[in-house]
């Protein structure tokens, strides 16, 4: 059960005192205006003035009937509860219907409103509204246009540039140089610099593994470029490393995988 805040308890106590003083006056006047009473979160007594006289009379009659021994007396109290203007607020009073006459309020009411708790103070609203748009058409149209553009580009490019088909594979004729596909030429370049086990397996294996672990090694929660200068520098170096190696292997390696300049010795590169 939620703990009742101290200020509400205090306010309820004040109202109770006020009601007691009122009862001591002996003037239980229904006609008294409740203008000075706080509106919504005031305890029940403050709202008493708002109960129509007819309803009060009805509940009084029912109570008398109950006091007289009639078993359906509780029903009358129930009606009064439902008709109260403050109905809908959280009622934390003792169950009015079963309450013995002893538990009645100062004016003969069988229940009281303890407090009205506003939703904001007990509910933790986590979702913040985000600026969203409908996927159709805003995203789908973009995707459609992009896919059309890619298709058109490929169609036109393929119409003018043919994929290579060299002569039939021949085990007895090793081309010089023999090169891997372009995305492995960085590795092949490493092969010319290091021992094959280091260049062909260890470095790419560690590289892939390190790449997979990137989100777990980078503990910096920010995604703003100015906060992650180190990560960005490191990754850029990594990219440059591979780009330079790949370009080297692709364009600057000729017969025997020796260093050549493409503008003097020509291209030794097939896609």
């Amino acid at each position: 059960m939620t703990e009742i805040p101290e200020h509400l308890l205090k306010r309820a106590q004040e109202a109770k005192d006020r009601a007691a003083a009122k009862a001591a006056d002996g003037g239980a006047t229904d006609a008294a205006p409740a203008a000075s009473a706080p509106a919504a979160d005031a305890p029940a007594d403050a709202g008493d003035g708002k109960i129509p006289a007819a309803l009060l009379a009805r509940s009084k009659a029912a109570r008398e009937k109950a006091a007289g021994g009639a078993p359906e007396g509780g029903g009358g109290g129930g009606v009064a509860t439902a008709e109260r203007p403050t109905a809908g607020a959280t009622v934390a009073a003792a169950a009015a219907t079963q309450a013995p006459p002893l538990a009645m309020g100062p004016e003969g009411h069988t229940q009281r409103l303890l407090t009205v708790v506003k939703a904001g103070s007990i509910q933790d609203v986590k979702a913040k509204p985000t600026d969203k748009v409908h996927t159709w058409p805003h995203l789908l149209v973009g995707e459609f246009v992009a896919s059309l553009a890619v298709t058109a580009f490929l169609l036109v490019f393929s119409a003018f540039v043919n994929a290579p088909l060299l002569t039939l594979a021949n085990f007895n004729l090793t081309p010089n140089p023999s090169k891997a596909p372009w995305y492995f030429l960085g590795l092949q370049e490493l092969l010319a610099l290091f021992h094959p086990m280091v260049a062909g397996v260890t470095i790419p294996g560690i590289g892939m593994f390190a790449l997979m672990l990137a989100p777990y090694t980078d503990r910096n929660p920010s995604n703003r470029p100015e906060d992650r200068k180190f990560a960005i520098s490191l990754f850029t170096i990594f990219l440059m490393f591979w780009a330079v190696l790949t370009l080297m292997g692709s364009f600057f390696r000729g017969p025997g995988f020796n260093f050549v300049f493409p503008w003097t010795d020509g291209l030794f590169f097939e896609l």
Binding site: K132, V133, H134, T135, W136, P137, L139, L140, G142, E143, A146, S147, V150, T151, L154, L155, F157, S158, A159, V161, A163, P164, L165, L166, T167, L168, A169, N170, F171, L173, P175, S178, K179, A180, P181, Y183, F184, Q188, L191, P196, M197, G200, V201, T202, M208, M212, A214, P215, Y216, D218, N220, P221, N223, P225, A231, I232, F235, L239, E270, L271
Partner: protein
């Protein structure tokens, strides 16, 4: 061409009949059974927020996209379309690849001849083969750039760590798909590029020669290697990559859509 009044009348009549036919087709049970409520192809589709939601919610697209996305997520300048482009290239490669499969037998005796015949005697054969080849190179590039884009946006950070790992696996699979396809034309380029590539893998510590034997289906590249790489290329790797793509796309949504804004 000169038009008479009579022609005009007939044209109007024809237009009326066409629109009437369209109405009938769109009102038919078959049409309505194909296009669910809210589909833009349904009769009486109007552009309303409710129908915009239905277009996604009531179609197979709901597997891929939520009804609404963050406004910044649709900016081309943020994603550069690289992930979507990789996926689209994969679809394009599947379609062109299926076409190529009709004309190709993966044996050392027939492979090169089949490709040559495809290029010279099959309608659109050369064009489709070109598209398959260039799309493959483009896909490697697109996946790689997609990875770089994601890194520079810090999009691999919580809660998207695992999706980054899936992404690295997808990059590896893309490279493997491309590399296994490289051998299939069985020309000098294919043979020696693959020889260089598999020799590199043969330097794996401890299991080097075993790894090479499994890859080649023998001690030398031959017709067994061709069959092995063909099956890997057209069946196994596509199957595996589709599973990982499904997880990848699902995680994008479950991790709260794409990252950002910065």
């Amino acid at each position: 061409m000169a038009r008479t009044i009579g022609d005009k009348g007939r044209g109007a009549h024809l237009a009326e009949r066409v629109s009437k036919l369209g109405e009938t087709v769109q009102g038919s049970q078959a049409w309505n059974s194909i296009f669910r409520p809210g589909s833009i192809f349904r009769k009486g589709y109007t552009d309303s927020p409710r129908n915009r939601s239905y277009v996604i919610m009531n179609s197979v697209l709901y597997h891929l996209h939520p009804v609404k996305v963050k406004r910044h997520a649709v900016k081309v300048s943020y994603t550069l379309c690289l992930g979507g482009m990789s996926f689209f290239l994969f679809i394009l490669l599947t379609v062109t690849g299926i076409f190529l499969m009709f004309f190709y037998r993966p044996t050392a005796a027939q492979a090169w001849d089949d490709i040559y015949t495809l290029q010279t005697s099959v309608t659109f054969g050369l064009l489709v083969r070109n598209m398959h080849r260039w799309a493959a190179h483009l896909m490697v590039l697109a996946v790689f750039l997609h990875m770089a884009r994601v890194f520079y946006h810090g999009a691999y950070k919580a809660p998207r760590e695992f999706n980054w790992v899936i992404g690295v696996i997808l990059l590896t699979l893309t490279l493997l798909l491309s590399f296994t396809g490289y051998l299939l034309p069985w020309d000098q380029l294919a043979l020696w590029a693959v020889t260089v590539g598999t020799n590199m893998m043969g330097y794996t510590p401890v299991f080097g020669s075993q790894v090479r034997f499994v890859l080649l289906g023998g001690v030398e590249i031959g017709t067994d290697t061709l069959l092995r790489w063909y099956v890997l290329h057209v069946l196994m790797f596509p199957f595996v990559i589709v599973i990982f793509m499904a997880i990848h796309f699902w995680r994008v949504r479950k991790d709260g859509g794409i990252s950002g804004p910065l």
